[in-house]
Symmetry: C2
Subunit: 346 residues, 2 copies
Amino acid sequence: MPEFRHDPIDNRWVIIAESRAARPGAFTTSVGWAVPTIPTEQTHAPVGTAHPTCPFCPGNERETPPEVFALRAGDSKANSPGWRVRVVPNKYPALAMELAPVPAQEAPSLFSSFPAIGVHEVIIDTPRHLGTIAELTDGEFTESWFAIRSRLHALRELASLKHALVFKNVGRASGASIEHVHSQLMATQTITPLVAEELRGAKNYFDAHSQCAFCQMIEAERSAGARLVAESLGFIALCPYASRFAYETWVLPRRHQSHFEATGDGDLADLASFSRGIIGKIERLCQPPAYNLILHTSPFDTTALDHYHWHIEVIPRLTISGGFEWGSGCFANPVSPENAAAVLRS
Amino acid sequence: MPEFRHDPIDNRWVIIAESRAARPGAFTTSVGWAVPTIPTEQTHAPVGTAHPTCPFCPGNERETPPEVFALRAGDSKANSPGWRVRVVPNKYPALAMELAPVPAQEAPSLFSSFPAIGVHEVIIDTPRHLGTIAELTDGEFTESWFAIRSRLHALRELASLKHALVFKNVGRASGASIEHVHSQLMATQTITPLVAEELRGAKNYFDAHSQCAFCQMIEAERSAGARLVAESLGFIALCPYASRFAYETWVLPRRHQSHFEATGDGDLADLASFSRGIIGKIERLCQPPAYNLILHTSPFDTTALDHYHWHIEVIPRLTISGGFEWGSGCFANPVSPENAAAVLRS
């Protein structure tokens, strides 16, 4: 069973999940004399053609655990073709779904751990074997966001889960092990450290200014323009002032909203169309495409929060974080967000 | 001039340093329609042969800024062949050396920045064009640590600098842009976030237990043995309990010592020989070798600290951090430190 382990000195949590070692492409370089072996990489089938060995293609439904949600033709059966979006448990989960209490915080101890409990699911965006978001239709991407919203609604009803992180790894350099476009959802009993820090920072800002930091950022960036990438009726894309990565781009709802799952159908369609355009620019920027997409939203045990604003962070993987980043916890970004936004606007 | 920018919501600092974009291999994938271009990768010369286009090989001293320190033959001139270890300012610095006050902390604001002031140097381990530490001799590696100690002694005398991070990127997948083995030293006016967190965590532990957390860890790991890799007279190597990365390995002095630069000559020779053996194991583990080595030591404006213990962290780059890691601030490690240590002991 995967376990969370705590480093008391750096105050950081790690999931030790050896089940993850077996997944395709778990390691980037060959491991000389270690236990895990590297499977040969999946060969590329013509775009949109069902791939005989792709576990996310129609006809191969038995290669994944049984589906927990799908949008499918009325006459089709679960775990068989006929679906348009399919959600399945991750075959190599970093979290295990069992009931266990979260241990109470105690004095710092050298060796603390607790079971890594939660839900680790995969959202397969389309039955078509596509490697990029730009190749999806707006309708497909809308249904994919619809499926994510449905899962968040369902999971927030489970009293044992507190928060969900949704993300997408596209391209080998992003950590993706399967080419067929998909998202992952990890719902946990605790709020993960970065989101906890965001919630704290946003609350501090709200307490100091009586305004949502993200709403103020949107207003300031719309007025300044230098870091603005694009806008739709309901959404805005910008390169954040303290971008960690070259061409890092955030997509936010223009109106204040703390929970992604509160987004209405019309706004989901707007989000799909708008974000597909932005992601397409980033996919064209990186050849081959390699980026992470991260959805940050509010904890399950909260309703509308004044101080937090859900958003999507798109992180192109153009540079490699090295000893400086991993040793300092700081980032060195070789492209200013002003120049990045100018490139992305063009 | 590079600048530190602050993200008030996530409370994280970023250096925006466009000067870094020009360095060889700054970007991992080709950048479709962006400004920076990717230089062709340096071709590989026979091991130990001076490489005509390597800026770190003897004869090419003019390709780097003038040296600030060198161990060289008595009759040789600065910035000419005859050196054994050479320290030069980084040609593409993420920090600029100028005098500027650190701004006072204020209420959280959306857009805070200050100039990224400091020293960014490169320590060239050997005149021989080698790509791994295992190929160095113990004597060469001892002189390399000696040069680092000398630079830390010199830089701590500058009142404007508060802390130095020393690190080594080996292999393309680690972020290295030049093959010839070298370290980097970044000395800053502030303590970088991860070291600040370590200092805080170590102080908390000391306050709770009246013992150095690292000393206690060493004692516990020697007694348990499962995560112990090796020991010398003065040093110990172990896979930490909450390892972030597969085969992450730390090297620590067995006796309590807060500042690396306080290490005596005999201990430096022991460190060089011992750490070269450990690093060699990791180099054989990853094919091609790819890892970061990070030295964490105490701030310049402190003397012997009871609660902090300098150490070296070696991070093999066998897995790619993806959306989960960058979105959550947590790590998912597919190899338990117990299994990693067993492999590294064998």
